[in-house]
């Protein structure tokens, strides 16, 4: 195909709004085990850090 071929010309388009108002979204990078980790995290007592009460050691 020739470089000047009209088919290669950039088509002019009106800009369209993103479907998300908040800008580009993070790619969906799902990892194996992510759901399982989140399941575990949801079971953690949200106040357990207040019960830790450790002494200073070395």
């Amino acid at each position: 195909m020739d470089m000047t071929d009209p088919l290669r010309r950039e088509e002019k388009k009106e800009s369209a709004p993103d479907r998300h108002d908040s800008g580009p979204t993070r790619p969906d990078v799902s990892r194996p085990g992510r759901d399982n980790i989140l399941k575990r995290m949801k079971r953690v007592d949200p106040k357990q850090s207040e019960k830790y009460k450790q002494r200073t050691g070395q």
């Binding site: 990892r31 085990g33 992510r34 980790i37 575990r40 995290m41 953690v44 450790q54 050691g57 070395q58």
Partner: protein, 500 residues
């Protein structure tokens, strides 16, 4: 690569989750310790080791390591190990011994053992101490040696840190007094990559509890002092990742070897290591800028690349272990600029950060949500049914340096190639007996002369077997002979923990 002896001491945190539980964390630590010795996994001390270490406070284990109470914490010291694979197996054997004790006592749903270094509410801190045997020619009176080591230690946290939510600002010289009223640091810092960075106010010092230093200068070789020096470091975090533990210990050993060979470069010295420790830890843009002694500005990552290139030049091909360390080191430095997700399973602060971010996204939380501290703790929970780190092992994302079978073996069998092998033999023979005195550098039975084990590279196994044959049965062990009593602590080796 020179032959090396490694050891790790771990102070565990104990979380009593059940408000109705009958014991507090200090009592749980004592009960767990007693249970391990009742299970015949070791022989309790019969004598004072120090004024705060009375008889029965702890003892040596059949695997050559040691379990004891220290300042209200349950602490495990690995036996002396001659390579990183052994070290990781024996470090995790300690975790397994104490976690199994918790489960066998029926407390695993009410109590959690937490392998971390900070109470995120009170900011109390407790340690993970590293021990490296170096030759006596590693000079401590050469300040540049220590400064090069300090610069390495401050910058290695980019791959060794275990990560924590928030920050604290303890009084630099009196952290037992609590904390300054200035909470601005905690407000400004959402997350940082090191647990210990806020608790290290000195570059060099010999104390281990307060006034901690990047390089601990206590000279306590626990071996022949004319040949060896024990470098005892308390600047690092407890790691959950086997890869992180191996890399932390391995790269540090190579750095020490560069110093011993005179190959370390004084250009690596930072202008202010204590300040750099904190600024690197708290920089969540991951620029990790540092200022060198000559005033030039660079980055922790660049400095680590420089040290790695020198290590490759001098140590590549010198041993399989050196080659593994160099390769692992390069892989992690290459991946650090890609962001935390590229490091999951190899770098604890990165794995934890990824988990926390995913959880925040899922639950619509921000960094100020107080429940995140509880998630932070849970990353370090030794209970494999609950702890967050273990999910990474389940999916295969966590790099393993050992195996579960090797860890199980390491609970009761000492490592080969070090004096821990002979000590394990001795401990087995001493269980149920009285009248013995045992320490890292030797032992004494009844009125016999002390049996010294001054060379950590020698197993002493056959000598100890022969010695024990001569001692029994016509010379039974006699407790009365060695009851030194309070105020007369026996000081064969001197240290509470620390294998050289």
């Amino acid at each position: 690569m020179k032959k090396r002896i490694y050891g790790i001491e771990t102070e565990y945190g104990i979380l009593v989750k059940d408000g109705e539980f009958k014991l507090g964390s200090v009592d749980v630590a004592a009960r767990l310790k007693n249970y391990v010795f009742e299970k015949k996994l070791g022989a309790l001390d019969q004598h004072y080791r120090a004024n705060d270490e009375p008889p029965g406070n702890g003892g040596f284990l059949v695997n050559g390591g040691r379990l004891y109470l220290d300042m209200g914490h349950l602490e495990y010291a690995s036996p002396e190990c001659s390579n990183l694979v052994d070290l990781i197996a024996y470090d995790r054997a300690g975790d397994t011994i104490v976690q199994e004790a918790l489960e066998e006592l029926g407390w695993s749903e009410q109590v959690s053992l937490i392998k971390n270094n900070v109470d995120l509410e009170t900011n109390a801190t407790f340690g993970c101490h590293e021990n490296y045997l170096v030759s006596r020619s590693f000079r401590f009176d050469n300040r540049d040696n220590l400064k090069m080591l300090a610069s390495f230690l401050v910058t290695r946290q980019i791959y060794c840190g275990a990560g924590r939510i928030g920050a604290c600002n303890p009084h630099p010289f009196r952290d037992w007094d609590g904390f300054t009223t200035d909470d601005s640091d905690a407000e400004k810092v959402d997350y940082q990559i090191s647990q210990r960075a806020d608790h290290i106010p000195n570059e060099f010092y010999r104390w281990v509890q307060y006034n901690r230093a990047i390089v601990n200068t206590r000279d306590e070789p626990l071996s022949d002092p004319s040949k060896y020096r024990r470098i005892h470091l308390l600047v690092g975090d407890s790691n959950m990742s086997e890869f992180a533990t191996a890399l932390k210990m391995g790269t540090t050993a190579l750095m020490m070897e560069l110093i011993e060979q005179g190959a370390a470069n004084p250009d690596w010295i930072l202008s202010d290591t204590v300040a750099a420790m904190r600024s690197i830890s708290r920089d969540m843009e991951f620029k990790w800028e540092i200022v060198l002694r000559d005033g030039k500005t660079t980055a922790a990552l660049e400095l680590q690349w420089g040290i790695l290139e020198t290590a490759k030049k001098y140590l590549a091909g010198s041993a399989n272990e050196a080659d593994w360390i160099l390769s692992a080191w390069e892989s992690v430095l290459t991946d650090l600029p890609k962001g935390p997700e590229a490091l999951i399973g190899r770098v604890d602060w990165a794995g934890k950060l990824w988990m926390l971010r995913e959880f925040m996204k899922e639950e619509g939380l921000d960094w100020k949500d107080p429940s995140l501290k509880s998630q932070d703790l849970e990353y370090h929970n030794l209970n494999k049914k609950h702890g967050l780190y273990w999910c990474l092992e389940e999916t295969g994302e966590a790099y393993r340096k050992t195996t579960d079978a090797a860890i199980a073996h390491s609970k009761t069998v000492p490592p080969r190639g070090t004096r821990a092998d002979g000590r394990g033999e001795l401990v087995k023979a001493l269980m149920g007996q009285t009248g013995y005195l045992i320490d890292w550098i030797g032992f004494r039975l009844n009125k016999d002369e002390p049996f010294l084990m001054l060379d950590p590279f020698v197993s002493y196994k056959n000598e100890i077997r022969n010695y024990l044959k001569r001692a029994a049965p016509e010379n039974p062990l006699d407790r009365k002979s060695y009851n030194a009593g309070p105020g007369k602590p026996y000081r064969m080796g001197g240290d509470k923990g620390g294998p050289p």
